[in-house]
């Protein structure tokens, strides 16, 4: 049993004019993650504490928050890796709804507008059978398909902090994922989000997104490769106008 000081940023839209820190002394077990400590506070100390979580196993992507200043999944952040004083705040770069819950409308809208789903090259009927794919074709995008929409990459990205119109790492990585899918034919439909200046071109390649991604998606790589493709497509449209 180890006692930690858990500093939590609290904000109640009904009573607070701005966020404030509140400290809890939490007795922690050896194998606890930060989310366990937060759950302990909610169960035994202050039931009004508000935060999101679901799976407790780094799959659902809902428990992202800043722990000692870094965006992490709180269910994957082991207390034993932290000092006795742990500070938790809602994900950076998003407005605070209440306590540790952020407003994620901006990300959701960008994600939806990016059309992150297969738009088939040619429609087939069920009788025509499956869309086949070789392991090599799968490899072209598999890493980018691991995203769990946890938004840690947005919280890490200084570019998104300064220019909120930036489409951002996860939405761009997912667009790249579908563009690279051999079954897909929707690249042109996604270009309005991907290749615009607030798309890949807004990225200044800080690379922080890839550092914090819990699923090793490497969104920074997807965006840089996306820049190359977007530039090639641009020149192609001049040289071969019929290919548009």
């Amino acid at each position: 049993m180890r006692e930690i000081q858990l500093e939590v940023l609290r904000y109640s839209p009904e009573t607070d004019s701005e966020p404030r820190f509140e400290t809890f002394q939490v007795p922690c077990q050896e194998d606890w993650v930060v989310l366990d400590a937060i759950n302990h506070v909610k169960d035994h100390m202050d039931s009004s504490l508000t935060y999101r979580w679901s799976c407790h196993m780094a799959v659902c992507g809902s428990c992202g928050m800043m722990v000692n200043g870094e965006p992490v999944l709180s269910c994957k952040a082991f207390i034993r890796d932290y000092p006795d004083k742990i500070r938790v705040e809602p994900l950076a770069n998003f407005p605070i709804e209440k306590d540790l819950v952020v407003v994620m409308d901006d990300f959701m809208e960008k994600l939806k507008a990016s059309k992150p789903y297969i738009i088939p090259k040619e429609e087939k009927s069920i009788d025509d059978g499956e869309y086949l794919q070789t392991p090599l074709q799968l490899e072209a995008f598999k890493q980018y398909s691991m995203c769990i929409n946890c938004m840690l990459c947005y919280a890490a990205c200084p570019q998104y902090a300064l220019a909120p119109e930036f489409v951002g790492p996860a939405a761009l990585a997912l667009t790249y994922r579908y563009n690279k899918d051999s079954r897909d034919g929707g690249k042109a439909e996604r270009a309005h989000m991907f290749s615009k200046s607030e798309g890949v071109w807004e990225c200044s390649f800080v690379g922080a997104c890839s550092e914090v991604c819990p699923k090793h998606v490497d969104p920074a790589a997807a965006i840089q490769l996306g820049k190359v493709e977007s530039a090639v497509d641009y020149f192609k449209s001049f040289l071969m106008p019929w290919s548009r």
């Binding site: 904000y11 839209p13 009904e14 701005e18 966020p19 200043g69 950076a92 770069n93 407005p95 605070i96 709804e97 407003v103 490899e139 072209a140 200084p158 902090a161 300064l162 200044s204 390649f205 800080v206 690379g207 922080a208 890839s210 550092e211 490497d218 920074a220 790589a221 840089q224 490769l225 190359v228």
Partner: protein, 131 residues
């Protein structure tokens, strides 16, 4: 329930001092000025060369003076930092490659960059007769 989302302000000019990772990024970007500065020095050298032997000798003298050497050493240090940090990122800008049916690992890409650097440096040193 009333909604009143709170927006935390980000310091517009000092954000990059808040985290080591951001500061390193800014240094990586800023050290490109050193590379530009050295290119300018070389161009000045070319101009002096076109002006005649006396001018070119004066240019070489200036470059060999303590001040010239210190300037070049500082530029070299910044250029090395710039190079190393970009090499580290090189795998992210490369399309996936395969070699003998295996995916080329990021480490191999970085190593190839270093090998290229050593190779080009050797050629230049040979050319100017330093090795």
């Amino acid at each position: 329930m009333s909604r009143r989302p709170y927006v935390r302000e980000v310091p517009r000019f000092t954000w990059w001092l808040k985290k080591k990772f951001y500061t390193e990024y800014m240094m990586r970007e800023a050290t490109c000025i050193a590379v530009a500065l050295y290119s300018a020095l070389l161009i000045i050298g070319l101009i002096r060369l076109s002006e005649g032997q006396a001018e070119y000798t004066a240019y070489l003298e200036a470059m060999r003076s303590p001040l010239g050497l210190i300037l070049q050493l500082i530029i070299l240090a910044f250029a090395v930092y710039h190079t190393i940090t970009w090499f580290k990122l090189a795998p992210k800008g490369m399309p996936p490659m395969r070699f003998k049916d295996e995916k080329v690992q990021p480490k191999a890409i970085v190593a190839a960059h270093y090998a290229g650097w050593v190779g080009v440096s050797l050629v230049i040193l040979l050319f100017v007769g330093l090795v």
